[in-house]
Assembly symmetry: C2
Homo-oligomer: 321 residues x 2
Amino acid sequence: MAKEAGVSVATVSRVINKKGVCSKDTEQAVLSAVEKLGYKPNLFGKALRRSETKIIMVLLSSLANTFCSSVIRSIDRIAGMHGYYTMVCATEGIKEKEEYYINFATNGLFDGIIILNSSLSKAEMSSLSKTIPVVQCNEYIDTKDTPYVSIDNTKAAYDAVSLLISNGRRRIVFYTADNNLVSTKGRFDGYKSALDDNGIPFDEKLVIYGNYGYRNAVTGFSDFLDQGIEFDSIFAISDRMAAGAMSVLGERGIRVPEDVEIVGFDNTDISYTSTPKITTVAQPHHDLGENAFCQLENIISGRHTANVILSHRIVRRDSTK
Amino acid sequence: MAKEAGVSVATVSRVINKKGVCSKDTEQAVLSAVEKLGYKPNLFGKALRRSETKIIMVLLSSLANTFCSSVIRSIDRIAGMHGYYTMVCATEGIKEKEEYYINFATNGLFDGIIILNSSLSKAEMSSLSKTIPVVQCNEYIDTKDTPYVSIDNTKAAYDAVSLLISNGRRRIVFYTADNNLVSTKGRFDGYKSALDDNGIPFDEKLVIYGNYGYRNAVTGFSDFLDQGIEFDSIFAISDRMAAGAMSVLGERGIRVPEDVEIVGFDNTDISYTSTPKITTVAQPHHDLGENAFCQLENIISGRHTANVILSHRIVRRDSTK
DNA sequence: AAAATCAATGTAAACGTTTACATTTTATAA
DNA sequence: TTATAAAATGTAAACGTTTACATTGATTTT
């Protein structure tokens, strides 16, 4: 390449990066050589020298979740505006894959990581943050080393359950998942404290567990119905679970919202493509993504960072009155 | 690192890559130094030297499509088994982003590309294939240089429409999109030839255009109904369009499948989460992904490649009799 | 006309690997 | 013993950049 233009590699570099001076003539010579050869600077040479790549990784468990893909899109947009590129790595819940993707990052492939969810322990998260800039988005572990951007899950659940209560419901099923995510824990807290504030006793039998999915909810909720436990409404921690439960109710001739009211979570497609449309808790995907990137850039640039809690919103649809 | 173990960099490299001989003692020394320092070989040094990264890129327009994410998962699984890692780049339909992701690839970041869909022209696709191994999966352009793995869209549509016809339907709406994708074109051909083979005249008025989405279909199909054109069934090129149309029919008191039968495409979530469940054309995601990767590996290893056409399957549900 | 300044460009080191080749050490054979 | 072979390890070049520094040549100042 340098030979083609008849100049030194240094000059080529200067022209391409518009750094330092050079004459119009050489600039032209280089530029046309670039054109002629279709020359593209090698990423590795550059990265090796600069020790930065301007690429950030977004790590999550599954691409299937449309809420996540929406957050990713926001991250990507703002990152692009700041000269960064985004690459998405889905672990599919496999620890090994998570490890090797993180390895890429710690080996220099990425300038930072935004973690939507991971199986990292508190200690691992903390030590990873010492190796490379990391911010958590949406789901998080509260370590002192890794900033997070999320919503107040407790308050969100509180609001959702309060809506049901204000509609006169008192036997509210909490359809949750058996895991230790902050979101799950927070939503459980919110559920309980809404009951509490309204003088409704907490009933363990109304808490059921699924895995966020639709199909699992169809069989799971069916089993619940078979137990004959009395209830008048459902608050589910995912729209898909809400939809699955609703479909079972439909099959059994139980009307929504007349007999049972339902509130889901995430405002995903299924909440408005199902019949009736499902009332749900919407998280601000756009702001989540944007703030996460900003925090990451703060770390990269050595600026001060902070945890960010964004506000949610209840989207009322036809599954509640 | 080399100093820590008290050996040369060459020895370190040999130990780590288990290449060439060395004594048990030095091996131990290196290994414990690795352990102590938490040493990770730098990806760029390695890539620069080897000119390979063992990473492949999957390029697509949007992560929102669950069919695509399912194909990606298959690619990823088989790639992992062959020592390759996968990274997903979503263009969101933005030409610039497509370009810079492709740049990463041509600059050495990736050993190959699997394109699920792109806005590349035939010429661009062809010339890209001369720079880096590329295979097209699912959606494709027929260039002589870039192998593809897909289904026979014409036959799939033919089968779907034949099902409707064999159920006695003759006024079949073709709900399609206004683009030049092979899938769209093929499905149109299949639709027409099924009509033809059954002596049903093609009626231009029964062809309507949407953008694959649910919301678009709700308004679009509503407009169609307002025109008062007589029809007794719908074949849509996406499940979401089928679901959107079905929801409009529901609102207007038109029964599915009694009054109108519907067939969708892709066997995505919405086809079984909507009520009634939608009959659809299932593509073999697993095989699509697997074959795409195998073809890519063929190119990388300089072996012979071929285009692959996999078979589809009609999944009968409640939107047809 | 000599000295000083400045613009344009080249030189070479550095980034962290891999690997052909050279060298050293150790074991074996004569 | 010494010569030879084999094993272990080191040396140095190469990959493609960036950049501090050096060099060249032209222009300006004295």
